[in-house]
């Protein structure tokens, strides 16, 4: 395969720092450094998105100004908020189920980060490219619901428990349309490897006035793209599917009893999940890091921020669905549509090929 010949980030780091001459230890160190780089890149995204961009975007939609006191455009609020939140007192509710209560935030935050291992971010920022890439990314993203359920149950609070239950009901209802829709893309690529999926999309679809349009699967199969974006919104628990934390019904859902650094980790995990969802959408449907003029990494970041902007837009524009409506939309609507999409795609590909 051609894909395997491309160097991945660990080898690049090893080559750049001259670590490849130290054998196994050097390789391991280079791999760790590469993973640290990718992890921090994504954490930097969430750092900008959580305390600053989210406020600014919502404020723009509701005609307010939002943070503007510290630094240019209020950007230094990121530092101020980080210090403020980390220096809050940690209150453990009585009756809390202790090990689970402490583990839940770690599970949520680290499971989201794990998914980025197989995402090609352009300019060689690609940690690993295993053959099962797409299946791996869905498997890892699914771990978060265990963390949410742990937090919800261990908090010893009715609202947390309900929030945790809702989070599971929602994640499992929309996981299947999500995976089935992604499978309809795999029919075209014939591979689960992320780099092959991106390569397949680089081929020109058609040429309009000298401009060749790449065969991004969002253009090839727009129906699947819309289905995937909607299922992804439910998967990351954003409006209109943010029932697990519905503040008007169950306080804050699974994170009601969390404070201080545990709350930060939950919050971080959620934002990492939005970006992971954006990264999956970008890789599977929007040609990965491909784009004109600008380097690949910049395009990749633009694409995942576009998905983030979409979630924040919906947050300001669309009302929340009730939990019973959510279950019905998932099992009666999305599931049936995603199966129709899979079967139709298979038939069309079968007739064309």
């Amino acid at each position: 395969m051609i894909a395997q010949q491309k160097t991945l980030l660990p080898e690049r780091v090893a080559g750049l720092l001259g670590l490849d001459q130290f054998g196994m230890a050097g390789d391991l160190l280079a791999t760790f450094l590469a993973a640290f780089l990718v992890g921090n890149l994504m954490l930097a995204m969430t750092g900008v998105a959580g305390p600053w961009a989210k406020r600014k975007i919502t404020a723009a939609f509701t005609d307010r100004i939002a943070v503007n006191r510290i630094g240019p455009f209020g950007l230094f609020i990121i530092v101020a908020d980080a210090v403020r939140l980390l220096s809050k007192e940690l209150i453990i509710p009585e009756n809390a189920d202790r090990p689970a209560f402490d583990l839940a935030p770690i599970v949520v935050a680290s499971s989201a980060l794990l998914g980025f291992a197989v995402i090609p971010m352009g300019n060689g920022v690609h940690l690993a490219d295993p053959e099962v890439g797409l299946a791996y990314v869905f498997a890892v993203a699914g771990i978060a619901s265990i963390g949410l359920a742990m937090g919800g149950y261990a908090s010893a609070n009715k609202y947390s428990l309900l929030g945790g239950l809702r989070a599971i009901a929602q994640n499992i209802a929309y996981e299947i349309p999500l995976v089935i829709t992604a499978a309809s893309v795999v029919i075209f690529t014939g591979s689960l490897r992320m780099s092959t999926i991106v390569q397949t999309q680089a081929e020109p679809l058609l040429t309009v006035a000298g401009l060749s349009i790449p065969s991004w699967f969002a253009f090839v199969n727009p129906f699947a793209f819309v289905l995937f974006v909607v299922a992804n919104l439910a998967e990351v628990g954003r409006n209109p599917f943010d029932t697990p934390e519905a503040p008007t019904e169950i306080v804050a859902g699974y994170q009601t009893e969390y404070s201080s650094v545990y709350f930060v980790l939950f919050y971080l995990g959620e934002f990492l999940h939005i970006f992971l969802g954006g990264a999956i959408i970008a890789t599977v449907f929007l040609g990965g890091p491909a784009g004109p003029v600008l380097p690949g990494l910049v395009w990749f970041i633009i694409k995942i921020w576009a998905v983030f902007l979409l979630t924040q837009w919906f947050r300001s524009a669309i009302p929340r669905v009730r939990i019973d409506q959510l279950i019905q939309i998932g099992w009666k609507g999305m599931l049936v549509l995603s199966f129709a999409n899979l079967v139709l795609t298979a038939i069309i590909v079968g007739v064309i090929v």
Binding site: A34, V83, I106, A156, I168, I187, L192, V264, K332, A346
Partner: protein, 137 residues
């Protein structure tokens, strides 16, 4: 080098960063032990009843359905991977498509059965059903 080592390294980073944040926070934050603020939060009211409430049976129903369909997605993935290659390799459409259609068809029948039995309908207790009919009157 094995690629999964890189995945493991990211897992390690994903574990170390939260732990590091916890360590930093434990150095920064105050500790003012007091019992009343540890009470279960119910919007400032005195907490009522127990936490281990009875919740809607619907959550079990959808979880059971999920197990069926999740295994099915696992079985669909290998088929999607080989589908196009098999067609380009000269296999006929009936050889590669029809078995899968039968497989998906059986599952769709199962979904229709669950649908008819109300497994994907939000379950109401008899009490709730009564209050709904009262509202309609």
């Amino acid at each position: 080098m094995n690629q999964w080592i890189a995945v493991g390294a990211l897992g390690l980073v994903g574990l170390l960063i939260p732990l590091g944040m916890m360590a930093v926070s434990s150095l920064l934050r105050p500790s003012v032990p007091e019992d009343s603020k540890r009470a279960t939060y119910e919007s400032g009211e005195i907490p009522t009843g127990t936490t281990r409430i009875r919740f809607n049976i619907q959550y079990y129903m959808v979880a059971l359905l999920f197990v069926v369909f999740d295994i099915e997605t696992v079985l669909i993935f290998p088929w999607t991977v080989m589908y196009r290659n098999a067609l380009e390799g000269g296999a006929t459409l009936t050889e590669v498509l029809v078995p899968m259609l039968v497989f998906v068809g059986i599952l769709v029948v199962a979904l229709a059965w669950a649908w008819r039995n109300g497994a994907v309908e939000w379950a109401r207790s008899p009490q709730q059903t009564r209050s709904v009919t009262n509202e309609q009157r």
